[in-house]
Amino acid sequence: MADTHAHGHHHEESFISKYIFSQDHKMIAKQFLITGIIWGVIGGLMSVLFRLQLGWPLEKFPILETLLGHWAEGGQIVPEFYYALVTMHGTILVFFVLTAGLSGTFANLLIPYQIGARDMASPLLNMLSFWFFFLASAIMFYSLFLPHGPAAGGWTIYPPLSALPQAIPGSGDGMTFWLIAMALFIVSSLMGGLNYVVTILNMRTKGMSMTRMPLTIWAIFFTAIIGVLSFPALLAAALLLIFDRSFGTSFYLADIFIGGEALPQVGGSPILFQHLFWFLGHPEVYIVILPAMGIVSEVLSTNARKPIFGYMAMIYSILGITFLSFIVWAHHMFMSGLNPFIGSIFMVLTIIIAVPSAVKVFNWIATIWKGNIRFTPAMLFAIGFVSTFIAGGVTGIFLGNSTIDIQLHDTYFVVAHFHIVMALSAIFGMFAGVYHWYPKLFHGRMMNSHMGYLHFFATLLTAYGVFWPMHYIGMAGVPRRYYSFENFTTFNQFDGLNAFISACAIIGFAAQFIFIANFFLSIFWGRKSKTLNPWNSNTLEWTTPLEHFHGNWPGEIPEVHRWAYDYSKPGAENDYIPQTTPLTEEELKEPAHH
């Protein structure tokens, strides 16, 4: 082993190579995180804007006209802008915050740290991955200011709506920019994913067998595999869409009469796009949720001072979810005219996913049973995650059943379901991760705990306040993506509830600034942790020095002797045994868990 550590430490790094074009995984993690936070604020602000319209449809807000000009004439958002907002809110949150912001941050931070590597397999590719993401971000951000607005055909960009500027103004330049940005985003994701898989497979330190890896790494590993295998389908879908939009082909378009003229395209199939899109789109929700599951497993175990319950079962359930995630996509298309027989097959496969998910939930609950729980802000969010994952998971059993889906498809019930199970859970996982690994990100500084508690309870209450009532609205049959409900006597009876939801959304959004203030102020004012290992955790990252340098460990990379979950082991001196501690004589005689 070459003593490369000596180099890293003494390099005179220029500002640019240290902070901008850094190849250090820790810096790249920070870059992903901060870009993700900025996108989170933008995406959240969009939801506040369209919630204003939904909550108080008859009210005028002069400030909107000041800020948005012709998009909010007379202080009320126009329908075209409303649809642009929901489209961009979805795109930004799903891809830019919960894929890049979550996976990008924690995969980069944790993989080399927790498996004991000096950096990623290819630091250069890793840097490029961020900069492609940044470029995608810049283009997507620019598209918000186009004269005809950004893409407005829904984040699922179903053609023909997304293919025809005549159908909605956002499908002109806005859609072109969307496609370019997403192509770059896909490239970024693929570069990242390749790196994550290879690093995990090939660069683990001595003794770090696959079954000794923390569950965070397992989760990120499967996330990366899903990404590498499913994003290409979106690329293919987008490629054919680009040809339909710009070169007059007819992959998706057929028999269209719009804007007073009959288009020449015949023989295309919009359903083909939906198949290709959801072949990515469904795995994508697991790309979002799996890293959060990994983080939560780690945080729950550490702060309950108990080994994660059913480590192998956790791995098998992630494996099962990964496998199934590729063969359930058509459950988004039960009502698209799909052959009913195919529909029933997809119903069966979809419902099966509930089994590994249930196993995970029970294992998490068993993990805190008879634990010795410390409510750090990270732990609070991890418990919140389990709660939202259950609440959103059970409604998945309704929607996965194609019979019930006839009624619930594209109603607010769906909005409630996927926001609770995917958006809330993933963002809770992300918060848990940030609070937990903040000392590793910022040189041993801790985030302010009491502000963290406040942030958690404010978020939990308002989040359920926003999304729980949507079940009721959905059970009343109200369709989603409606600019206003006033025209329908069936749908217009929820003004009070919608105002309540909007109020919760605004308070919840404001509460996120508690986190943002905490995050940025703690960089400078945060309490310095007294030890290297503030949470008394077992994993390898807490053996690295506080000051970052490229290469992570000043000496040799420590050797690993046991799994990551020896908490409160009987006979041990402390209630934790770091992975670097060699096995004792007695332990060697035991059959499992090292």
Binding site: M1, A2, T4, H7, G8, H11, E13, S17, S22, Q23, D24, G116, R118, D119, A121, S122, P123, L124, L125, L190, L194, N195, V197, V198, L201, N202, M203, R204, T205, K206, V228, L229, S230, F231, P232, A233, L235, A236, A237, L239, L240, F243, F247, G248, T249, S250, F251, P264, Q265, V266, G267, G268, S269, L272, H275, L276, F279, H550, G551, I557
Partner: protein, 194 residues
């Protein structure tokens, strides 16, 4: 240099160099792109409104050319491993030439298609458009491969330590074979389906 950290051979699994593994996974990813495109083709064909036509023979020539280039690539790699510079360079040159020849054949193929009245922007059926788009996507990958070949060729000419470590050539060769195999698959796929 920040990027100067060597990748230590830390793993218990020492069989595969990380970059090679990465390439293999990338190949898996690229395969998924083409799997998606070709299954879209099949779905669309089953859906109807399809025009069958004979694949121009030019595409058969391009298949032969790409197979020949795989052979020259293989020889170039074996000479690189034996550190025989001039033989390496000549076979690399041949591979590059064959790669460009392949692209020429494809262009001739498109020309033949146009003469048959099959255009990219055919808005009555997607059957021709699929051939164009999928082969464009393949050509884009192949052009990337040619770029790597050219880099490896000039590295062979100028770099003094080039033959110490043949990893670059190996990676290029794996990718080149993949692009070749990919085209053979696409050719068979199109031949069966038209």
């Amino acid at each position: 240099m920040v990027g100067s950290i060597k990748i230590e051979d830390q793993s218990a699994v020492k069989k595969l160099h990380p970059h090679k593994l990465m390439l293999w996974i990338a190949i898996g990813s690229m395969t998924m792109t083409f799997a998606a495109l070709t299954s879209a083709y099949l779905v669309k064909k089953a859906h109807g409104n399809w025009m069958d036509f004979r694949l121009p023979t030019e595409f058969l020539y391009s298949t032969l050319v790409v197979l020949a280039s795989s052979l020259t690539m293989h020889l170039a790699l074996s000479f690189a491993k034996k550190k025989e510079k001039s033989k390496y360079l000549s076979f690399m040159f041949a591979t590059i030439a064959l790669g460009i020849g392949f692209l020429m054949c494809q262009l001739a193929g498109y020309k033949a298609l146009v003469n048959m009245g099959i255009y990219l922007s055919d808005n009555t059926t997607a059957s021709g458009s699929f051939l164009y788009v999928i082969s464009f996507a393949h050509a884009a990958h192949l052009i990337g491969g040619v770029a790597f070949l050219i880099i490896m060729f000039f590295k062979g000419v100028f770099s003094k330590t080039f033959f110490e470590n043949t990893l670059g050539v190996e990676l290029t060769s794996i990718f080149w074979h993949y692009v070749g195999v990919l085209w053979v698959y696409l050719f068979i796929f199109f031949s069966i389906n038209y």
